[in-house]
């Protein structure tokens, strides 16, 4: 789960080190203090969300996280997560590499696809955009956007006019 979150945060343009998962038992107060102090200092170095190296600007992050929350609720990524957990249990291999590989090959593509779809709708709600603009705003290449876009056009949610896409009038 933590690995999924880390990879997905990176996909959203957030430094994955902002998420920490640490273990301290009830008897380990000094260790807890050490962990929390180290962690707070590392975040202080990184600065506000969106200001660390390689991160998206804060407006993009806001929009993207709203899409990401919806993506995390969607059925497909959740099924992928369940299936991966089942597979790891069956194979008995819980090494870091096996988990990383499983997440990046199975769960992340599902989450990313949902994120792109949701963010597409959010962007088009602000006004019409063409393929190039969409690709730049979504951090995705045109091939990745085409599929959800054509599905939404088919459903009648989005319409295309002179190469520009916009939300269909209801």
């Amino acid at each position: 789960m933590a690995e999924t979150c880390r990879q997905f945060l990176a996909d959203c343009g957030i430094n994955p080190e902002r998420l920490a998962l640490e273990w301290a038992s009830a008897a380990e107060a000094p260790r807890f203090v050490e962990l929390i102090t180290g962690y707070v200092n590392s975040i202080k170095e990184k600065g506000e969300i969106g200001s660390a190296e390689g991160e998206a600007d804060s407006e993009t992050i806001k929009r993207r996280l709203a899409a990401a929350v919806k993506a995390a609720e969607a059925r497909k990524p959740r099924i992928a997560l369940g299936n991966l957990a089942k597979r790891l249990h069956k194979e008995g291999d819980f090494s870091k590499e096996a988990i990383e590989k499983g997440v990046s090959s199975k769960i992340l593509p599902a989450l990313r696809a949902e994120r792109i779809k949701e963010e597409l709708l959010m962007l088009l709600a602000q006004g019409p955009m063409d393929m190039k603009e969409l690709s730049k705003a979504l951090w995705a290449d045109e091939g990745e956007i085409e599929k959800p876009l054509s599905q939404l056009v088919k459903k009648g949610v989005i319409e295309e006019k002179d190469g520009k896409y916009s939300l269909a009038d209801k």
Partner: protein
């Protein structure tokens, strides 16, 4: 000019005194108890963490973490 300097100084101070907002998900039986006993034994630790107690770290969902960042957290600390 003087005012400009003041403004500059203020922004510098804001940079130096940046206090991150961190959300903590603490397990009731482990980290939460550790935090409690750290408090009782008067250890000093930074006050930036807002804690949400969960009954088990396994209860935490990817949604919680994304939602925390969406609400403006600069970091999420999960303690089991």
């Amino acid at each position: 000019m003087a005012q400009q300097n003041v403004v500059k100084k203020e922004s510098e101070m804001a940079q130096e005194g940046f206090e991150p907002r961190i959300l903590g998900f603490f397990c009731h039986w482990c980290c939460y108890a550790a935090a409690d006993s750290a408090g009782v034994s008067r250890y000093q630790y930074p006050p930036n963490v807002r804690v949400i107690r969960v009954m088990c770290t396994g209860r935490i969902d990817a949604r919680f973490i994304l939602e925390a960042f969406r609400c403006g957290a600069d970091g999420v600390f999960t303690g089991g």
